[in-house]
């Protein structure tokens, strides 16, 4: 999304849904993070962009390639990461 890669960092595409999409005012964000960054670091990055959403981010889960991943999951450059706030289907 127009963000240049750097030798020391990665860029991930973040997809947002439901209350998080409404809170951030869009359904996608591009995050530039240090190499080796984990899902937990992505949540901190998101929280810093909108501190009001910290509580919701803390109860959200992450998915990469349509699979839930733990917060310690190491993100890769160009990953598409979905941030999933508490679900309420059914």
């Amino acid at each position: 999304m127009g963000v240049a890669r750097t030798a020391t960092g990665i860029t991930v595409n973040v997809l947002l849904f439901a209350q998080l999409r409404d809170g951030f005012g869009g359904d996608q964000l591009v995050a530039s993070l240090p190499s080796g960054a984990t899902g937990a670091e992505l949540l901190v990055w998101l929280s810093q962009r909108n501190p009001k959403l910290t509580g919701l981010l803390e109860v959200s889960r992450l998915a990469v390639n349509c699979e839930y991943v733990p917060l310690e999951h190491v993100l890769q450059d160009a990953d598409e990461v979905v941030v999933i706030p508490p679900v309420s289907g059914g």
Binding site: F17, A18, Q19, V82, V87, S88, G89
Partner: protein, 142 residues
């Protein structure tokens, strides 16, 4: 197999599935939109899903159910978009040789979908206003 649908769920379609001669039990769960959420009257729910992942996750749930219980038929449909009070939001149907497997598998499937499928709902009142506080099931926060 698309498990998510914007069209009304036809229970008759599930009932029309041929029963395997090995099966002696057919169990279904029908989730219907209630007229109130947290004691607040509503007119409809708007279901939003992350489609690719929801489809994949439901397929995985079915595969897991088939490894844990003897099932010969599984039918799942979940609405997305606006669903009025009284309409079917989700239908889970299973057929198995015996009732224990059918009941347990049906319960497992609806619980797994409610817990893990990336599907969210927003409640609207009769004036098409969002009903605050109804879009998150608080007991699912972890």
């Amino acid at each position: 197999m698309p498990y998510l649908t914007r069209d009304p769920i036809e229970i008759a379609e599930w009932h029309a599935c041929a029963i395997d001669p090995r099966d002696g039990a057919s169990v279904e769960f029908v989730g219907v939109v209630r007229g109130a959420e947290n004691d607040t009257p509503i007119a409809s729910l708007d279901y939003e899903a992350y489609g690719p992942m929801a489809e994949c996750l439901i397929a995985q749930c079915i595969e897991e159910a088939k490894t844990r219980w003897a099932l010969h038929q599984v039918y799942i449909r979940h609405r997305v978009g606006r669903v009025a009070v009284g309409e079917v939001a989700v239908l889970i149907g299973v057929q198995a040789p015996h009732r224990e497997d059918a009941f347990e598998a049906c319960r497992f499937l609806i619980d797994a979908i409610k817990r893990d499928a990336p599907i969210w709902k927003m409640a609207y009142d009769a004036h098409e206003d969002v009903v605050k506080g109804c879009n998150v099931d608080k007991d699912r926060c972890h």
